[in-house]
Symmetry: C2
Subunit: 309 residues, 2 copies
């Protein structure tokens, strides 16, 4: 568990409400919950609203299980920047004698990781990860680029009492691959589209906070920060804290990072640029319940009309 912070009381109070109403079903570890039917229905309706709002984009739908290959994950660079969030999958591959040892350790409540061997898969850290090697394997991206629609459970090992910081959550993403001129304007347009989508369901006042440049270490660091701001921004909304609002949507421009790693090429042989927009589905649902109340039947008519058309 994380150390307590001042906002923890509000988070705990909201989590307790969600559990009491059986919107979330606690499974034991912090941040690991089942979803009651009312919660799940809201997720499905918001998912359908995203689909409807982007129908004219004609994205290609692909769906992936919540694991990717360990080999492609190792290539991704994720272990460099966020090793503590990643989840690798291990399994038992031993002999019958080792099986006895495994059962003894479990029986005694001891660590049985010695009886586990790493498998060829890891949990998906973000819904877009399996896209890049998949698209690369299908050949060069045609002129005008490609647009892929993905949706999967993702894992982040950050046990927390904040209901908006789950270890297993769903991310719906659109991923654009092509020339910089295809990718960057598409990503930027989504900031407005994302805001409009949230406003349509009564989540007004979400914004993309301007990160203060960090002056302390001089121009080089400042430039790096500014560059970073151009690469990534988020729409944040207060769920349990106004001071520390939660990111509901995130917009990332990867330049040619993933294109280079996985060999995604443009028609002319140049490395493809990529960008994505991701919706934190559970977070949007939590923002809806926080804003409009725990019973969707009592939500404002305008909001209901958008979600249950």
């Amino acid at each position: 568990m994380n150390a307590l912070t001042p906002s923890d009381d509000a988070q705990k109070a909201y989590l307790d409400e969600l559990i009491a109403k059986r919107l979330l079903l606690p499974l034991g570890p912090p941040g690991v919950y089942g979803r009651g039917h009312v919660f799940e229905d809201v997720i499905e309706r918001f998912d359908a609203l995203i689909t409807a709002s982007a129908v004219d984009d004609h994205a290609e739908r692909m769906r992936f299980p919540p694991v990717i290959s360990r080999a492609s994950f190792e290539q991704s660079g994720y272990l460099k920047s966020m090793p503590q969030l990643a989840g690798s999958v291990a399994s038992f591959t031993g002999t019958q004698a080792e099986h006895m040892q495994l059962l003894e350790l479990v029986h005694e409540g001891k660590d049985w990781s010695c009886c586990q061997t790493m498998t060829d898969v890891v949990l998906t850290p973000a819904a877009c990860y399996p896209i890049y090697p998949t698209v690369a394997a299908q050949g060069p991206v045609p002129a005008g680029g490609r647009l892929i629609d993905v949706y999967s459970y993702c894992f982040r090992h950050e046990p927390s009492g904040d209901p908006a910081r789950m270890q297993m959550f769903r991310m719906r993403e659109f991923v654009r691959l092509g020339a910089e001129g295809d990718v960057l304007p598409w990503r930027d347009r989504w900031q407005e589209r994302g805001l409009a989508l949230l406003e349509a369901i009564g989540l007004t006042g979400a914004n993309a906070p301007a990160n203060d440049p960090f002056f302390g270490r001089g121009g080089k660091m400042l430039a790096a920060n500014q560059l970073e701001q151009k690469l990534k921004f988020e729409l944040v909304y207060p769920i349990t804290s106004v001071e520390k609002p939660t990111a509901l949507l995130s917009f990332n421009y990867h330049q040619d990072h993933f294109g280079s790693i996985y060999g995604v090429k443009q028609e002319d042989g140049q490395v493809a640029h990529t960008a994505c927009v991701g919706f934190g589905m559970e977070r949007v649902a939590l923002a809806l319940f926080k804003t409009h109340g725990l019973d969707p039947a009592l939500w404002p008519e305008a909001v209901r009309a958008r979600l249950w058309p």
Copy 2:
């Protein structure tokens, strides 16, 4: 990879077709695939058909992420019978120096499991597993029992070239909890309902094979086998092999096994009995594509009318 068996040629040929049509999108390890939009659409339509066929049962819908708590998994007994199929989740919890070591191992292509610590979650082995502790925590099951509807990705570590034997696949399940008299007839009725559901989509000739009793080791073994046959049966259908048909649905009566382990009680204080019926969603889709062809637009009108009503 498994050793080659005679049916492997047919399996490989079918897998190659599925990949060529982009119905399945290979992610590298055998049995780990993304799903193209046509494949996914069939899964969604069959899921909706199950829902429609069981609408009068008024099952309570719960949805769980593809992990359960390690503690409840250790209680389940799964590690006794099928340790080689289970997937535990590990993460990096080390120091900055250990992070350097991790990156070096990855860079050198070496095993980095030494830099991973077991987390509090494991991958879900079957969709019903999170139900039992969840229902137990909600108090005694009322007279007449409860009926729960679940659906999730499940993991089984059995790398295979058989497209019907995936490492990550979806299982839709109904789980009945209550007195033996509620649970067992409900499970038995589902054998006919399951057959009718498969026939409605043109998967005729599925059957529940009678396992030959094993006489070799005398009466005790025979009795144990017969008992086992009453506890579990499956509807099998030929996908890539007539001799070794694939289980599409499975029907399990757990007696008071899970009730005892997780403390699921009936209203009168007795331990609840449980049973489940599970649909192997990818396997049903694979059976449909094998039977009716790889283009759902060309499937028989009667089948299309049921799936796309």
